[in-house]
């Protein structure tokens, strides 16, 4: 049942490194992370890999397996041929700390740039009333486990370091969409999505959706609808006129005004 698999793993730190070859035992039902753990226990005790829950729920063990962004804990060995060499490399978009561990602080910085949930002043805890159908859209985006593979794979920043300051990446553009669709959020997020967080850079190639381990339809359900909202705002003369005449009163506006 068990066999010896060929692994090629990127090892190094401080901007330098190389692929190293290993031969390691694999047993039935194992995932790539199990094999990396076996390497640590038997051959390379200092091999660095980030992980936590080992159940696909925390989004820590994001790596690239044969060039594809994957969670190490959810990639079963049975999806490979036994004689295949499996190459494991760190996420390419973020600087390597050591081996398979990258510096993902970009994501935490971006998270802090998105204005937080802004409820109306006049609703107290316990008074929130929402219908299931109205919370479901944002709930889909809240399934996100922050593995950051969507940001890793997004071509806007994957090979374009220079775009990083102006682009929040799919993860946090989706966060804006999530808040914009929250029944009780009263902040106006449309202009800032475009102007401050780089929604316009996205040209809907759907790479983010393809790699999402939670199968969130990031492009179709978050980014495209958000783009449509921005466009409605920017170019719809009626909306423009409405905004001029009935100036929004910010936090005192009711939640009902936020459906679209």
């Amino acid at each position: 049942m068990g066999y010896k698999a060929k692994f090629r793993i990127w090892r190094g730190e401080g901007g330098e490194g190389k692929l190293e070859d290993f031969v390691v035992e694999v047993n039935e039902g194992e995932v790539v992370l199990d094999v990396i753990h076996r390497l640590q226990a038997t051959q390379t005790p200092d091999l660095a890999v980030r992980w936590n829950c080992k159940a696909g729920k925390c989004g820590s063990c994001s790596v690239e397996i044969n060039g594809r962004p994957r969670l190490g804990c959810m990639t079963r060995m049975s999806t490979f041929e036994e004689d295949e060499t499996i190459t494991v490399t760190p996420m390419r978009t973020f600087p390597v700390i050591k081996d398979l561990v990258t510096d993902v602080s970009f994501n935490y910085k971006k998270a802090r740039e998105i204005p937080s949930f802004t409820p109306p002043d006049n609703v107290k805890p316990g008074e929130y009333r929402m219908q299931q159908i109205d919370v479901e859209r944002s709930q889909e985006f809240r399934k996100c486990i922050e593995c950051f593979m969507c940001n890793n794979v997004c071509h806007v920043i994957r090979d374009h370091e220079e775009n990083k300051p102006a682009f929040a990446g799919p993860r946090f553009l989706m966060r804006i969409a999530e808040l914009d669709m929250h029944p009780y959020d009263v902040a106006d997020r449309k202009d800032s999505a475009q102007e401050e967080h780089g929604l316009g850079y996205c040209n809907i190639t759907k790479c983010c959706t393809e790699v999402c381990p939670e199968h969130i339809k990031i492009t179709d359900n978050a980014l495209i609808p958000m783009k449509e909202r921005v466009v409605d705002r920017k170019y719809d003369p009626l909306v423009w006129l409405g905004n001029k005449i009935f100036k929004r009163t910010g936090s005192s506006s009711s939640s009902g005004s936020k459906t679209s």
């Binding site: 995932v31 199990d34 640590q40 005790p45 079963r76 510096d103 316990g126 929402m130 919370v135």
Partner: protein, 635 residues
């Protein structure tokens, strides 16, 4: 070596639900607060909580209230709970859940737009606020985003988002610092290292809140993540605080059993709460055979009645699949031992024949995903195979219920690392609410303590030196023991010898193994450098795992009865005398574990009066029952 130094009012160790809620509270009370966590921000073990947060909001059944929740919690813990904690928890949980909603959480809804609540083992009414079966993720993300919101506020006010609240992620604390060597010397800070760089770090702070979670990584089959190495339990002991109830470990009845690499991963109790049933290899719904005497009048005795309960709870009793977790875990263990097990040594948990496929995917999305991706099992079409897995430790730091304060001045604890709240067995859903209620209380307790201090306690330089030597030692022992092997042997030992069912001679044997492993761990070496070196990190964590395992085994040996998460083959009966006793672990100055028996404080009159005499008589002694009768007569 240079040690990076930071000054804070409150240092919170751990960034799961309890740690984040404590930090939010301390910051809201104006304290400069550091959050120190071993993983990245937002990855803590809380994300794995599935079922929900128990809070008697009464949204689904208006008969629910805090008193019913209190009674359920005490029953679930077999009356060993710290009753004051159980009371505060039941009273405050609804406010803590509603507060999350005001911070942006999106729970599933009832038809009238309120937070929906689901059934769970041991809870009399539907009580768990939830988001499908990923409630823990919602909880941690909401708290994480609340931290960010406060940081944004601070940026506006002070020009620095981290002026009052800063997260030190991938940073491990190895030692708590105190102003002096005595047991009651006050806390002065915490010492540790950055996992990413291996650089040493020291926090100067008068208050520390432990929120480090549990100890599951001392067991092979566990639902717990790598972080659960008992750090807070061990740090508290080493700092002079006491641990109680360490013999009580919850084995969750339903963990995955196949394939081997995922053995132990949790299968949420919601599967049963939503209608799933347990069957053995003969196809029998065996839980009807395992209803214990104390619960006889509350659980259905026929399949027909059990099935009617899902739609009519007023006129039917609950299905026995929803007994408290300790009962279900033992029942599964017995079926497997009797040879009526599934092909991979578990039992069958079936929801496919109970709900339409679309409904299963909607209610249990992450279970559907987990089984499909990891085991090639479609839970809408076939049963799952499940068996018990080490899930939660009821024992932990002995704290003051109201403030989370330990016996060491300046040291607080909340969540799984604290002890008492859940008695001998925790009800599902009571953990997420525990984190919120007591996380907030510990944060407030720490803030209040800091306000009352005349000056800041100072860590003596020599303790820093000692902490540095201890942390760096494994790196210099290049030819030392392999820490991974020591860890694996500890896990096997605890699993086999101090598991669900315990016997004196086996626990004794475990203690002997632990003693030998301590020597090996003291000689553990880690080749490689200081940058992100997992072998080094594990060598350091071994100290904590071994210390905590010893506490578990020693307490398990002393308690000669079976109750909740402690089952003794040689003392199979629950004893009313033992209910009055708590086992309290401490350390001698030279590092030996001591255990003393302490009296369990009696329940306050108005709380014990919430129970029927008939029920109490199953748990308490004749003397206690006489006191109860006097109380009732007088009132």
């Amino acid at each position: 070596m240079e040690i990076e130094r930071h000054e804070y009012d409150v240092v919170v160790i751990g960034a799961g639900g309890a740690g984040l809620r404590a930090a939010i509270e301390a910051r809201q009370q104006g304290k400069r607060t550091a959050i120190v966590c071993k993983s990245l921000f937002g990855k803590a073990h809380t994300v794995m909580a599935e079922g929900g947060a128990a809070a008697a909001m009464g949204n689904v059944n208006s008969a629910d209230n805090w008193m019913v929740h209190f009674r359920d919690t005490m029953r679930g813990g077999k009356f060993l709970n710290n009753w004051r904690m159980a009371e505060l928890h039941a009273k405050e949980a609804p406010d803590r859940v509603w507060e999350l909603e005001a911070w942006g959480a999106l729970f599933d809804r009832t038809k009238d737009g309120k937070i929906s609540q689901r059934n769970f083992g041991g809870h009399e009414y539907p009580r768990l606020a939830h988001v499908g079966d990923r409630t823990g993720l919602e909880l941690i993300r909401t708290l994480q985003q609340r931290v960010v919101a406060l940081q944004q506020e601070d940026e506006k006010l002070h020009g620095d988002p981290e002026a009052y609240l800063k997260v030190f992620a991938e940073c491990t604390i190895t030692q708590l610092l105190k102003a002096g060597p005595d047991e009651d010397s006050p806390i002065s800070g915490a010492f540790g290292y950055w996992r990413e760089t291996g650089r040493l770090i020291c926090f100067d702070a008068p208050a520390v809140v432990l929120a480090t979670g549990g100890i599951g990584k001392s067991y092979v089959v566990t639902s717990n993540s790598w972080e659960y190495t008992g750090d807070g339990h061990a740090l508290a002991l080493l700092a002079g605080a006491k641990l109680i109830n360490m013999e009580f470990i919850q084995f969750h009845p339903t963990g995955m059993v196949w394939p081997p690499s995922v053995r132990g991963i949790l299968v949420t109790e919601s599967v049963r709460g939503d209608g799933g049933v347990l069957r053995n290899s003969e196809g029998k719904r065996f839980m009807f055979d395992y209803i214990p005497e104390v619960f006889k009048d509350k659980y259905a005795t026929t399949e027909e009645e059990a099935d009617r309960w899902y739609n009519d709870q007023a006129n039917n009793r609950r299905p026995p699949e929803l007994l408290p977790r300790d009962e279900v875990a033992r029942a599964i263990n017995s079926e497997v031992k009797a040879g009526r097990d599934s092909p991979h040594g578990g039992v069958f948990l079936d929801v496919s024949s109970r709900l339409p496929a679309a409904e299963i995917v909607k209610r249990l999305p992450s279970m559907h995903h987990q089984f499909k991706e990891l085991a090639d099992v479609d839970i809408t079409a076939e049963p799952m195979e499940v068996g018990p897995t080490c899930h939660y430790i009821m024992g932990g730091v002995e704290v003051d219920a109201d403030s989370g304060a330990s016996s060491v001045p300046g040291l607080f604890a909340a969540g799984e690392v604290s002890g008492g709240m859940h008695g001998s067995n925790r009800l599902g859903g009571n953990s997420l609410s525990d984190l919120l209620v007591f996380g907030r209380r510990a944060g407030a307790g720490a803030a209040q303590y800091v306000d009352g201090l005349p000056g800041r306690p100072v860590s003596p330089e020599e303790t820093l030196k000692g902490a540095e030597v201890e942390a760096m030692a494994p790196l210099s022992r290049t030819g030392g023991e392999n820490p991974y092997e020591v860890h694996h042997e500890l896990q096997r030992t605890m699993n086999e010898l101090v598991g669900i069912i315990r016997k004196a001679e086996e626990v004794q044997e475990a203690l002997e193994v632990v003693e030998k492993l301590k020597e090996r761990a003291a000689n553990a070496g880690a080749p490689g450098g200081r940058i992100y070196n997992p072998g080094w990190h594990l060598a350091i964590d071994l100290r904590n795992m071994l210390l905590v395992s010893e506490c578990v085994a020693r307490a398990a040996l002393i308690r000669q009865e079976s109750r909740g998460g402690h089952t003794r083959d040689d003392f199979p009966v629950m004893s009313a005398e033992w209910r009055r006793k708590l086992l309290r672990c401490g350390l001698t100055p030279d590092g030996a574990v001591t255990i003393e028996e302490r009296d369990q404080p009696s329940m306050r009159d108005d709380l014990i009066a919430l129970f029927d005499r008939a029920e109490l008589s199953k748990y308490i002694t004749a003397d206690e029952l006489a006191d109860f009768d006097t109380l009732v007569k007088e009132s």
